[in-house]
């Protein structure tokens, strides 16, 4: 028996090694880093232990900007993409011809490189000396003057960022919601139809409660994903997000670690832990709220 036990551990050894070195140790280490004051990356020395790193990060105007941008992004994109995905999935489930084709098309953004397609969005929205870009062309048709969405006013940039984020996260939501909607027992609908219930009422009273667990799952993962937004912003505005006023919390962490202002793993750790705390809090609130409203069958 002892020999067999040994063998099991042998099978697990690679996984345990990888996880220990690249997940468990870093997880402990990041908390240690975040408390080491004045850490020097080159000599790997520090002169004290305390909460200074957190206080530095929380007073850093760049961090506050990143915090603000991330919150705006979350508040706009999570509800918008969830509602939009719900509408599209409901539509998808009510048709038969072309359904597969639509589903395939809708899924495409999932398998594309965020950086690459972000570049296309940038070109669609960018105003240069040569051309105002495609989106401005449409704006002009409606009699609106051209806006520079990439280097222009704050809200124009935020608009593009939100739009691109929604575009990127939709495939996952549509996929999950479509299969959730399809799995609702048809008999409930038949019963409601016999009673002459209106479509809207059927949706509110049958569909929504039946898929509410899936919705909660999507909202929670949506919040988590949106709080970690970063590469979408890089794709649109380039690597120097601070200059573009479009940095996000994750972007701040990486900038602190590496890049023009980099070399401060302590500040990066503190910022990452603050982000983790925010995400954890929001997730707990989501779970608490949903417990009151979700129907589990």
């Amino acid at each position: 028996m002892e020999k067999r036990s040994m063998k099991s551990w042998l099978y697990l050894l690679p996984a345990i090694l990888f996880l220990a070195v690249f997940m468990v140790y870093p997880l402990i280490d990041v908390f240690i880093y975040s408390t080491e004051e004045g850490y020097n990356f080159a000599s790997q020395t520090y002169y004290g232990v305390g909460p200074y790193n957190y206080s530095y990060v929380l007073h850093d105007p760049y961090f506050l900007m990143a915090l603000k941008n991330t919150f705006i992004l979350v508040v706009i994109t999570v509800p918008l993409s969830t509602i939009l995905a719900l509408l599209i999935s409901t539509g998808l489930n009510s048709i038969r011809p072309l359904k597969e084709l639509f589903q395939t098309v809708y899924f495409l953004p999932y398998v594309t490189n965020t950086l690459a397609v972000g570049l296309v969005f940038m070109i669609l929205f960018k105003k240069t000396a040569y051309t105002d870009g495609f989106v401005n062309l449409i704006l002009n048709w409606f009699g609106h003057s051209s806006i520079d969405f990439i280097d222009g006013p704050y809200w124009a940039k935020m608009f593009v960022l939100c739009l691109y984020t929604v575009w990127v996260v939709m495939p996952f939501k549509i996929l999950i919601l479509t299969s959730a909607l399809a799995s609702v027992n048809q008999e409930y609908y038949n019963a409601a139809r016999v009673d002459g219930t209106s479509r809207f009422r059927i949706f509110m009273r049958i569909t929504l409660p039946m898929i509410s667990p899936t919705l909660v799952y999507l909202i929670i993962t949506g919040f988590i994903g949106a709080f970690k937004a970063y590469s979408d912003a890089v794709a649109l505005f380039g690597t120097d997000l601070n200059a573009a006023e479009m940095n996000t919390i994750v972007g701040y962490v990486y900038d602190m670690l590496y890049g023009n202002s980099g070399g401060y793993p302590s500040y990066a750790s503190a910022a990452a832990i603050i982000l983790f705390a925010i995400v954890l809090t929001i997730t707990c609130i989501n779970l608490l709220v949903s417990r009151k409203h979700v129907h589990y069958f």
Partner: protein
């Protein structure tokens, strides 16, 4: 006498309403399909416009009458697109390969073998799924730098291998294989490793293919870790390559060549998706996260 209910009329009204609803639904769905597809169309379109004609269009044109492939030539000759491409292929294949070996062995141990502390260890594994990447990436960056592995494939690959979730997914699948097969194989004197190779893996092939594809997509699109760990162009992956091209490549204004590079980068995954569409979509709904 009571007024008779005109059933014909009601039915007709209902039919019209049905048809209007269908039309609106199709219109809305087509609109979203257009929103999804338009960037792809624009990317291909721009990539076949010549440099001169693109820059001459103050009002962008929605089609071109004189397509050219010159931009694709430029994309491969002016910048090191071929190298970014090769790097990404190496990175994706090796990372996915190592991940598969590690995952299959671990999932097999959890599903099939008996040893002390199995449940405790599995719970520990599961709890690791909640750890966000942003939290561990900082120390990993320091570790890799300390080991002098920056700008190397080892540095790129090693921290990207682990995926607790895939171990979990595969373990669940392994457990569905009937015990009798295992006992029969044991009676015949088959070793555990041979049983895993000859019985478990063939039976669970769909799940293994699914996690392979999901991991490959993840590798192909990874940006953050490669950006942290490479600053030598010789080790850039496509995501970093595209960022590099954007900031220093071709000269800022050669957008058609940039779009050609974007097309080249996007095509492999789109082809993979069209081939394995069902498997990928089923796999993502079981275990994907993005957004």
């Amino acid at each position: 006498m009571e007024k008779q209910i005109d059933y014909v009329k009601i039915e007709r009204a209902e039919k019209i309403r049905e048809r209007v609803l269908k039309t609106v639904t199709y219109a809305a769905l087509s609109f979203w399909a257009l929103v999804v597809l338009f960037p792809f169309y624009w990317m291909v379109l721009t990539s076949v416009k010549s440099y001169g004609s693109y820059n001459a269009e103050h009002i962008p044109r929605l089609f071109t009458l004189s397509p050219t492939l010159q931009n694709y030539v430029d994309a491969f000759t002016t910048v090191s697109l071929a190298r970014y491409f090769t790097n990404t292929v190496i990175f994706t294949v090796v990372t996915t390969g190592v991940m598969l070996v590690v995952t299959v062995l671990a999932a097999y141990a959890f599903a099939r073998l008996e040893f002390r502390g199995k449940n405790l260890l599995f719970t520990l594994f599961l709890s690791l799924m909640m750890i966000p990447n942003e939290l561990v990436i900082i120390t990993n960056y320091v570790t890799i730098t300390d080991f002098d592995l920056r700008n190397s494939f080892a540095g790129l690959i090693l921290p990207s291998v682990t995926s607790v979730f895939y171990i979990y997914l595969l373990k669940e699948n392994f457990e569905q294989v009937p015990d009798q097969l295992y006992y029969a194989a044991k009676v015949d004197g088959t070793s555990d490793l041979k049983y895993l190779w000859k019985v478990m893996i063939p039976i669970c092939r769909p799940t293994i293919i699914t996690i392979t594809i999901l991991k490959a997509i993840e590798c192909w699109n990874s940006y953050v870790w490669p950006r942290l760990i490479t600053d030598d162009e010789a080790y850039f992956l496509v995501s970093n390559g595209i960022q590099e091209i954007r900031e220093n490549g071709f000269g800022r204004e050669n957008i058609p060549a940039m779009m050609a590079a974007v097309v080249v980068i996007s095509v492999p995954l789109i082809v993979l998706f069209l081939i394995f569409r069902r498997m990928i979509m089923a796999g993502v709904s079981r275990g994907g996260t993005k957004g």
